[in-house]
Subunit: 448 residues, 2 copies
């Protein structure tokens, strides 16, 4: 095993693998150290009743150019997200069948929804991608939660519930936890509300035949022995000439390191000398959203036959979001997400009781046939080792006080992970872009 | 070296040492594993121009019964905090000499200050010590920042600035970062605003001759070889019969573990099996306040001669809080605190430039004589290894969603640290109490 390289990449998720591949293309020798016994980070493949399921990151947006190009290069095909029929919607206690383009709401609430979108678009447009903390109203917006904004700006229960659902459905955290400035920046970086919630042409446009984790596996295969699994990094010591990386499998050395793990989990690494207060403070202040994703396979897509899209979006229910995932090979699957507090509750239940709870909810949403699955599998990301959740988010005052540290190298250490991307943060696309950016940062220093 | 005991305590700060001492009193064998090469955690002694200085936790409140009893038992004497003369106050840009009991403010602002205290006392009284998340208005108060509350409830610039100063001065974080519910609970647990800001009979009543860290050193001396320094804990694996603790110096085993480090830094330990989502989520969501504490020694207490208390409280200045600390042996010392954003800025300066900046501020506050110190020393807690800051705080939505996990044991792991204390959280008193609680929790299980 090589113990020395020009660059050590910590983490074999999408960001780390892409950084490493980019560096090898630039003629630079790398070693990728992964704590887990698998690659892929927040993407994960499972098998359910013989079908391939994605129990981690899955969707590829229509504008996810880097991811689409990578998949194209690797010969991985996409299939479209189904988006016909009615959606099951519960915003204020009652589950209703709703059109997906015009939600079932009182007229006043619909008006507010249109206003909400206008306000968010207006505010979002003032947030600069490279430095959201310099937005003209950054100080004010970062001093309040999204929930504070919602209560101050929306009057109808339905519109408020919808706004909260955007936060919980998309980032697996509650509106009461995140900063309004961070939220605006997250919306901005993901194409705005319409694109963000959109299926055809939007963020939920398509998925990969064979699953998302393949991308990581193929990148890792290209890197070959450069990827070292089951090697948790415990300490990174910087000196004048390079870095020494202490792992459970001994020491590795390099000129530079790219830490390609989310800011929160990066806190688990001991840095010597100590990181600057702003970077260390950022690590302390980007908790991961909580999510459990379940894949349930049925004999046939009965919901489609009943004129339903297989989509559900709920606020009060324990199962917040459901999506159709009839796979390219015909396996009739529903994907179900428990988020935030609901994820933590379901986590405590254990898998068997959780399975019952989730199937029960699917029966409420789609009728009795949902009670007879051929198979069930889930992944509890709240207790996933080395990841500890979904995507790192920011509460109030973090963006304005610590945001500048997101991409700032600390000596010989550079930072990747979807959270550090100015575009598509939270998506695989953001992870890949962050890897490319970090690789080029290091490459420039290496040649200078 | 013993490798096995009934209980392993992780962390030789005040909480861990007290837990260990309590357990030995209960007839239980313990090992204390400390990552650093010293004991005391957030207490630290320095020498400045031949004088003893406390560059960490220092004050003992009049109602800190456990700490006073411990110091009494160990034969450590107290000396009173000086509190005569005028205070230098800057709330809205202008530095003024002010009476300490009635701050120099416009009459309207003074009225608001009285109202502020009434409102906080009223709200605080509804927050139950054992379960702040069950306060009648918990949901509402935990969905907003303290800053949101300030802007909604106070109109004068002076009263707003004063309210912000309570947060930054007392917890080294800004009002824009913390939850209003958490803030109320923190006030409640520290005797309310009046007590909290109070010198004689209040939280700042007295200090220890020879410094606070002595308490830790004496407790450690009593524990003898049971305290193992320079032994960072990396993993704790729980089994049916006990715990295996992996450190840089090999493995230790015990029936139970008490993790006596703050929730944030506790995240650095890998737990197997994975902690429940709520506990892990709490670790991700209790960032440490940022503080640099400086001790400056002069030939004589010239400020006292000028009718000044040596106290300063400022909002706009880089140096937020200054206190007199003429030691029992006559050494004329001023203590200066940079907090929050100011601490992170001063951290980047490095010690020499920081010294100049701090002395300059002291000259602005107390006149030219402040420019001629005999000695200067400081401790930058933002880069203190193993601590990473001041006290763990909670942003919005953390108390209601994760607060219940603060003291809940996770299998064979029990939790201590001042943050977990229902009373005097943030103080040494809270740390000691948390250690006693955790020790008795374990002792009860051990005998059952």
């Amino acid at each position: 095993m090589e113990r020395s390289a020009e660059v050590i990449v910590v983490g074999a998720g999408m960001a780390g693998l892409k950084a490493a591949r980019e560096l090898t293309d630039l003629g630079c020798e790398v070693i990728v150290l992964e704590a887990d016994d698998r690659v892929g980070g927040r993407t994960k493949r499972a098998e359910v009743a013989g079908a391939v399921a994605d129990v981690g990151g899955q969707w590829v947006g229509a504008r996810h150019e880097v991811l689409l190009a990578e998949a194209g290069r690797l010969g991985i095909a996409t299939y479209a997200q189904y988006d016909e029929g009615k959606v099951m919607l519960e915003l204020t206690g009652k589950l209703v069948r709703s059109r997906s383009d015009v939600p079932s709401m009182p007229p006043l609430a619909l008006l507010e929804l249109a206003r909400l979108q206008k306000l968010w678009n207006r505010d979002m447009a003032t947030v600069p991608a490279e430095a959201p903390w310099t937005a003209p109203k950054a100080a004010q917006w970062d001093a309040m939660t999204l929930e504070t904004w919602i209560v101050a700006n929306l009057r109808t229960a339905s519109a408020r519930a919808f706004a909260r659902l955007v936060s919980s459905g998309a980032w697996a955290v509650e509106a009461r936890e995140v900063s309004y400035l961070w939220f605006l920046d997250a919306l901005r970086g993901n194409g705005g509300l319409e694109h963000f919630m959109g299926v055809k042409g939007g963020m939920l446009d398509a998925k990969f035949v064979g699953g998302m984790q393949q991308i990581a596996q193929r990148l890792a295969a290209e890197l070959g022995e450069r990827v070292v699994l089951s090697t948790p990094v415990r300490r990174i010591i910087q000196g004048d000439d390079g870095v020494v990386v202490h792992t459970d499998q001994g020491e590795f050395t390099a000129r530079f390191a790219i830490v390609a793990v989310p800011p929160g989990p990066a806190q688990r690494i001991q840095f010597e000398p100590h990181l600057p207060g702003a970077r260390d403070g950022l690590h302390q202040r980007m908790p991961m959203g909580a999510v459990i994703k379940a894949a349930v396979v049925y004999a046939r897509p009965f919901w489609r036959e009943a004129g339903l899209s297989g989509q559900a979006a709920t606020v009060g229910e324990q199962l917040g979001i459901v999506m159709d995932d009839v796979r390219e090979d015909g396996a009739a699957m529903l994907l179900a997400f428990a988020e935030g507090e609901h994820a933590r509750e379901m986590s405590l239940l254990g898998k068997e009781a959780r399975r019952s709870r989730i199937i029960e909810a699917l029966v409420r949403y789609f009728g009795p046939e949902a009670g007879e699955p051929l198979g069930y599998e889930d992944n509890d990301w709240t207790i996933e080792p080395w990841t500890h959740g979904y995507v790192g988010v920011m509460g109030p005052s973090v963006m304005t006080r610590f945001g500048h540290a997101l991409r700032e190298p600390c000596g010989r250490i550079h930072w990747a992970s979807t959270e550090t991307s100015t575009e598509w943060a939270g998506c695989i696309e953001g992870a890949l872009r962050s890897g490319i950016r970090a690789a080029h940062e290091v490459s420039r220093r290496r040649n200078s």
